[in-house]
């Protein structure tokens, strides 16, 4: 369902464009899970952003569910973000002006996929039932990330992209949150591509890719 071919991305540098991704090939089937590891600055986030339609590549192609993501315009990429992929970032995922309940329901409603029972169940299983009317800045980091996970999964995207979703949490909380995420993703049948530094977490995923200097190292 995801097919990335020869993906390239440059960032403007002082002495001309600096290559960050130098031809990435990768594919992911429905329901598959993939861990993406690599040193800081190796291009993991950039790759995720390109797949999620958050930024534009400079070369190569991304095919998602039969759609050529690189050919989409601003509105098309926005639609892709609404309906097909769900992105969880390391931090600051939440809309500060909305409370927990409305944050969780936001993407599902935006995608026209709102299912009240499923949302309630998600909130309960993520341990958020008591916090539904709190605002993001009243929550701890772990709670915030659980809201972000809930929000992504409430919309039932076909592909979940997570960029170090537990990178800002302590080891124990991070493991718990990630375990929860894995289980829920499995239940929705979505494919999962997650960036992580932890070997222990990577080991729990179906496959593992290592990024080095903008290339896949095997």
């Amino acid at each position: 369902m995801l097919d990335v071919r020869d993906l390239r991305k440059f960032y403007p540098g002082e002495a001309g464009p600096v290559p960050v991704l130098r031809g990435i090939d990768l594919s992911l089937g429905p329901g598959e899970t993939l861990a993406l590891t690599g040193e800081s600055g190796s291009g993991k986030s950039t790759l995720l952003h390109l797949i999620g339609g958050l930024d534009h590549p400079d070369g190569g192609s991304i095919e998602l569910d039969g759609i050529d993501v690189t050919a989409l315009d601003d509105a098309g990429r926005a639609a892709l973000r609404r309906r097909t992929v769900g992105v969880i970032f390391q931090q600051f995922n939440l809309i500060p002006s909305l409370d927990v309940a409305r944050n969780i329901a936001f993407q599902a409603k935006l995608a026209g996929q709102h299912d009240a029972d499923w949302t309630t169940e998600l909130a309960a299983r993520l341990g958020l039932s008591d916090h539904l009317h709190k605002y993001p800045e009243q929550l701890s980091g772990g709670q915030q990330q659980r809201v972000a996970i809930g929000r992504t999964l409430a919309a039932r995207p076909r592909l979940v992209l997570a960029d170090e979703p537990t990178g800002n949490l302590d080891e124990e909380t991070g493991a718990a949150v990630l375990g929860l995420m894995l289980r829920l993703v499995e239940e929705t049948g979505a494919a999962l591509l997650t960036v992580t530094h932890s070997d222990r977490l990577a080991a729990r995923m179906g496959r593992r890719l290592h990024l080095r200097h903008g290339r896949i190292a095997r």
Partner: protein, 807 residues
């Protein structure tokens, strides 16, 4: 280390240039409007002082009739003979066509040389330079160049422009002035020009009916009236300054808030609390001085631009003289910079207090915005309530102009402080209408923006309220005034004969050609201790039907015709607390007050008495002016025929329409100045919104990035941003309408009465509000256009940084 700390603090401004711009613009415009108004006021006051001092009345004692009224010239001669050093003065309005001047008759021989009006005709050497033309018939009128050209050929006496003479007033030898004013052998008062000879009998002995008045320092009536005009201007200057301070407060508050981590780091690195506060104070003082100096420059320009209108207004309304050119005193510069510093200090006080109490370590629990803003709202509501109570108390028990302005200030500030609550309430209501998740977010996000924008919106509220309030006052004034003119100027033609003989021939000529010939006669008199006028009025339907009476006893016109009763004008009624049925002492006896009439455009007390009684009280006043009733379509022809028949100038025959146009023109100019200040204040408020939005722009990204990542395009976010600004401006405008009406009420019913002696009925003009509403929405749209475009153009990588970076 101090240098390094200062560098760390100042780097904030280079990274946030819009915040710096906001601060500078806010402070500079505030200073500009304030100091501009002050410059105008100072210039005008200086001119009054010069004018008043020309005859030395500000510092010489004056002798006048105890009960008011004028004096026979023989009294002056008697005092002179008794050894008193006195100089006679007669004063009166001299109307010629469409100009009215204050004619002052003096006796150059008894005036001390240094007190004589300067310029041509009077030599530099005391006493020696008296021009023979001035004394010998036909005499000469000395006045300013502008007035001289207006009077050219309109008077039987030559008019000469003299360098350095004030416009709008003319000096003549007392004999000539008496003739021109139709008051032969009369004087108004005497100046005591010297100590008098030894053994001169006391005033009580030789003239018990005369009283000596100590030097007043200023001409009372003029001082009072112009004072109120300047107080009006000052109030507007203050309002504009307040609008500017709201902006400054917003910028400083934000700059301090955003630098909190820097403050903490500096403290942690060993900068003491006092050193930190000192650095911040120095930084703000420097900014205040730079912006203040820029504001002074702007204020000077502003004053220069407005001064001609102010001068024309003061001349038209009060006959006061103001030089058209601006001179600047060093004290003005110092005061302007001081007010810039004081304003900055006021605006920064809260932020300093917070820094002083800043804990070294960040609190573990970040304050929730919802909670914090609720707390802030509560505080603002309490303050608004207290101010509203103060305003009500002032409205009920206050008196005087100052109390009126205090009421105005309290009410406006209360409305401003209440605005965030009104906005939150309105937005909460709006949120209920939300359809779909994007609208839901829109309302919630808009509510979250209110604290950051509230100071700019308060400034907008003040500007809009001032606009509505002053606009309502002006329009009410205009409407009432035109209606009043229609009543007052009921006759079709007004003619003035050059002398009694022509007047008699004219009446003969007119008798078969008109429906009625109504004489207009007037005598100057002191009424209730102030210079005023008594008019004689014919018993005719023209008055019975049209005269604008505010209150009267039954059968009022019959009583006037009978002679024992008079009408008084509104300003006299209010000032002296007289109502129909009361009695009033006038030259000629004690009269019953049968009614009160409205008399706009004239600050002086006036009385109308029956023509027959007037003729017997003031037999020396010739009947030279007449109001003529003719069919309106015949008026123009008759006017032409009259001019031809009697060789009259254009100004001697005036039709109703021309008088109305002239009177209205004077009033239009009166408000040019306030209108200009209104526009300026509104622009400043628009600027405040722009700079606030730009400043908030950097803080917007973390709020917008999540929504964008979930599938809203940047273009849509930008459109919503534009809508948000317009929505907030619309709510603010709706709140400004009642606030503005309140302002208008205070202006019309309290301040006007205190300042001018009239109460004007309030008329509302929803059409004007609509225009202003559209204007304010446009201003908001314009102000948010650029910030919105910036959002639409934000590169995705900037939005993505939100999720990666530590904030």
């Amino acid at each position: 280390m101090i240098g390094a700390a200062l560098g760390a603090l100042l780097s904030h401004w280079t990274r946030r240039p819009f915040q710096l711009l906001t601060l500078v613009i806010g402070l500079a415009t505030a200073t500009a409007l304030w100091s501009g108004v002050q410059a105008i006021n100072a210039q005008a006051r200086q001119s009054y002082a010069d004018a008043a001092n020309r005859l030395g009345e500000a510092d010489l004692p004056v002798i006048e009739a105890r009960g008011g009224g004028d004096l026979a010239q023989a009294r002056f001669i008697a005092l002179r003979r008794a050894g008193w050093q006195v100089a006679p003065i007669i004063e009166g309005q001299l109307a010629s066509g469409d100009t009215a001047i204050l004619l002052i008759g003096i006796d150059p021989l008894s005036m001390p040389p240094g007190r004589l009006p300067g310029g041509a005709g009077f030599g530099a050497e005391p006493g020696a330079g008296l021009d023979a033309d001035f004394l010998a018939p036909p005499g000469v009128l000395l006045t300013g160049p502008e007035t001289a050209s207006q009077l050219e050929g309109a008077l039987p006496v030559p008019v000469r422009a003299a360098e350095g003479m004030a416009e709008g007033r003319a000096y003549a030898d007392i004999g000539i002035a008496q003739r021109l004013l139709n008051r032969p052998g009369r004087i108004d008062r005497m100046l005591v020009t010297g100590p008098g000879s030894l053994g001169a009998p006391s005033l009580e002995r030789i003239a018990p009916d005369l009283a000596q008045r100590r030097p007043s320092g200023e001409d009372d009536a003029l001082g009072r009236l112009t004072d109120s005009f300047h107080l009006n201007l000052t109030a507007f200057g203050l309002l504009a300054f307040a609008v500017g301070l709201f902006i400054v407060r917003g910028a400083i508050g934000l700059a301090f808030e955003q630098r909190r981590p820097v403050f903490r780091t500096l403290r942690a690195l060993g900068v003491s609390r006092n050193a930190l506060l000192g650095l911040l104070a120095a930084e703000l003082a420097a900014l205040a001085l730079v912006s203040g100096a820029a504001g002074m420059g702007l204020g000077y320009l502003l004053a220069g631009l407005l001064l001609p209108d102010v001068a024309a207004t003061l001349r038209g309304l009060y006959g006061a003289q103001v030089e058209g050119a601006l001179s600047i005193r060093p004290a003005w510069w110092l005061a302007g910079l001081a007010i810039a510093l004081a304003g900055t200090a006021l605006a920064a006080a809260g932020s300093f207090w917070q820094v002083a109490r800043l804990p070294l370590l960040a609190p573990a629990q970040p304050r929730a915005w919802a909670l914090a803003s609720r707390k802030l709202l509560r505080g603002q509501q309490l303050a608004a309530l207290a101010l509203a109570a103060a305003a009500i108390a002032l409205a009920l028990w206050g008196s005087g102009l100052i109390a009126g302005f205090a009421l105005l200030g309290a009410a406006l500030l209360a409305a401003a402080l209440l605005l965030p609550s009104i906005l939150q309430g309105a937005l909460a209501l709006g949120a209920r209408t939300a359809r779909g998740v994007v609208q839901d977010w829109f309302w919630a996000d808009t509510r979250q923006q209110v604290p950051g924008l509230s100071l700019a919106l308060m400034a907008l509220l003040l500007a809009l309220s001032a606009n509505i309030g002053v606009g309502t006052m002006v329009s009410s004034f205009r409407l009432t005034f035109t209606g009043w003119l229609d009543q007052r100027l009921a006759a079709e033609l007004y003619v003035t004969a050059p002398d009694a003989e022509t007047a008699a021939r004219m009446r003969e000529y007119l008798a078969p050609r008109t429906g009625a010939i109504l004489p207009i006669v007037q005598a100057e008199a002191r009424i209730d201790g102030q210079p005023g006028a008594i008019y004689g009025v014919a018993d005719h339907a023209t008055y019975r039907r049209n005269w604008p009476l505010l209150g009267s006893v039954p059968g009022v016109w019959d009583r006037i015709a009978a002679g024992g009763s008079v009408l008084i004008n509104e300003q006299l009624s209010r000032r002296a607390g007289l109502v129909p049925g009361d009695k009033i002492d006038l030259p000629g006896g004690r009269f019953n007050i049968a009614g009160i009439y409205s008399d706009y455009g004239n600050p002086a007390p006036q009385v109308m008495m029956g023509l027959t009684r007037f003729e017997s009280e003031f037999p020396e006043v010739p009947q030279l002016r007449f109001a003529l009733r003719v069919p309106p379509e015949a008026a123009a022809d008759l006017a032409r025929a009259l001019r031809a028949q009697f060789g009259l100038g254009d100004d001697a025959v005036v039709d109703q329409a021309a008088v109305k146009a002239l009177s209205l023109a004077i009033f239009e100019r009166t408000f040019t100045v306030t209108a200009a200040l209104n526009v300026l204040t509104l622009s400043v408020a628009g600027l405040a919104i722009l700079t606030s939005l730009l400043t908030l722009g950097t803080m917007r990204l973390p709020q917008l990035a999540p929504v964008w990542s979930l599938g809203l395009t940047r273009a849509r976010l930008a459109r919503l941003e534009l809508t948000r600004a317009i929505l907030l401006a619309a709510i603010t405008f709706l709140a400004a309408v009642p606030t503005g009406l309140l302002l208008a009420w205070v202006l019309l019913s309290i301040i006007n009465v205190e300042a001018f002696g009239w109460r004007l009925p309030m008329h509302v003009f929803p059409g004007d509000w609509l225009r202003l509403g559209v204007l304010s929405l446009l201003a908001a749209a314009l102000a948010s256009l650029w910030p919105s475009i910036r959002i639409a153009r934000t590169p995705p990588s900037d939005l993505l940084k939100v999720f990666a970076n530590e904030r």
